[in-house]
């Protein structure tokens, strides 16, 4: 039986291309955890922004291999070596994706807006000096500027534009990126969010966050938004996650803080005992 995800020994490499690491594995684990939902979702168009080695888009294509209705895969990267390596990785696994060398999704936004059913993205999230952002080669795979947010904050509105009504976005975020603030920001645009996988390594704590449009979320008026935003952000900042709390404290947090409701509402405890914890 063919492997359901990309095999490391078949993943191509190049000195200027980020190799699959914990963050890539966590993202693919999140896709695997959501596999039955993804198959039910029946995505027609799938896109990876920043495909690097090709490990993730190859895995997505293998996971969705027999999706009813068929799916078309696209992947972008700014780094020409990454495009080449992804092409080799895809071929070694016998799957296909259309590759485009571009910055995020430049050139696709005009026509592809509102059409993409699944976007996966492992962005350059490492906090670095601002002048490291936008360099060539492998630096483009990790340099994220202040709080690691420079590129993430460019990607989010583009993903919002590209996603179809039923579209899902899976994104790798680091604690230092302040995921709770990102989720609040996306909530203002009508997105619910859920942490599908949380994983701590020696250096970092990774969150794989899934975003989807939720019609239950009332889009706030501009006036309310600016009024609420300051309050919510200060709460969000005080809720630095990840951190571990007793269940009873989580319940009281749920009652106390509007911000936590954003995650609580969409928890799916059946997937994981504790998809993430507030801190």
């Amino acid at each position: 039986m063919p492997s359901m995800i990309a095999q490391i020994r078949l993943v191509s490499s190049h000195p200027e291309v980020y190799e699959p690491c914990e963050d890539s594995f966590a993202l693919v684990d999140a896709l695997l955890a959501d596999r039955s939902k993804l198959l039910e979702h029946r995505p027609a168009l799938c896109l990876e922004i920043g495909c690097g080695s090709g490990y993730v888009i190859t895995s997505l294509a293998l996971i969705l291999g027999h999706v009813e209705g068929g799916a078309h895969y696209m992947a972008t990267d700014i780094n020409p070596f990454a495009i080449q390596v992804t092409s080799e990785t895809l071929e070694a696994h016998g799957v296909y994706a259309e590759l485009i060398r571009t910055d995020i999704a430049s050139g696709l936004e005009g026509r592809l807006g509102g059409s993409v059913d699944v976007i996966v993205c492992n962005p350059p999230y490492v906090p670095t000096p601002e002048d490291e952002v936008g360099r060539d080669g492998i630096a483009s795979s990790w340099a994220g500027g202040e709080n690691g947010r420079r590129v993430i904050d460019k990607i989010l509105p583009i993903a919002d534009n590209l996603l179809s009504e039923k579209g899902w976005l899976y994104m790798v975020l680091l604690t230092e990126n302040n995921p709770s603030e990102i989720c609040l920001h996306m909530r203002e645009k009508g997105y619910a969010s859920r942490i599908v996988v949380q994983r701590s390594t020696e250096e970092e704590t990774l969150h794989i966050v899934k975003f989807w449009r939720d019609s239950d979320i009332q889009l706030e008026t501009d006036e309310n938004r600016s009024k609420n935003r300051n309050v919510q952000l200060s709460k969000a900042n005080s809720l630095r996650f990840p951190f571990r709390r007793q269940a009873s404290i989580v319940v009281s947090l749920r009652q106390t803080f509007q911000v936590s409701a954003l995650f609580m509402n969409s928890w799916n405890i059946s997937d994981y005992d504790m998809p993430f914890s507030l801190a």
Binding site: A44, G70, G110
Partner: protein, 123 residues
């Protein structure tokens, strides 16, 4: 690069208001057969700009698509689906360029991969 992708790409140069469809300069065209999936084709039909697909196919050497935008009832025709499938997914631009319809700027396509990166003064 498949023509499905060509149908989804537009010129992203700053100031360009009408960047679709991109022209095609075809130096090398290849065909790769893939399994046909009628559900996928029916899904894509509503997203495709028909005339640009017909024109792109013709440039790539395939002229069997109906000229005018077909009514969605054609999706019941196996013959139509086969042609649509072939044009959309089996014809690849391997070497050549995509051309901005407004400025004439060329985006190179090498080994089947379009390079949509802009120069600093185009962003």
């Amino acid at each position: 690069m498949k023509l499905l992708t060509h149908n989804m790409l537009s010129s992203n140069i700053k100031g360009v208001t009408n960047g679709f469809p991109l022209g095609i300069e075809a130096e090398k065209v290849i065909e790769r057969s893939v399994d046909m999936n009628p559900d996928f084709l029916k899904n894509m039909f509503s997203k495709i700009e028909w005339k640009p697909l017909v024109e792109a196919s013709r440039i790539m050497g395939y002229s069997d698509l109906p000229e005018d935008v077909p009514d969605s009832s054609v999706l019941d025709s196996e013959e139509f689906l086969r042609k649509f499938h072939h044009a959309l997914l089996e014809i690849h631009l391997e070497e050549g360029a995509l051309v901005c319809p407004q400025t004439g700027r060329k985006f190179p396509v090498n080994k089947g991969i379009p390079n949509m990166l802009l120069h600093e003064d185009e962003v």
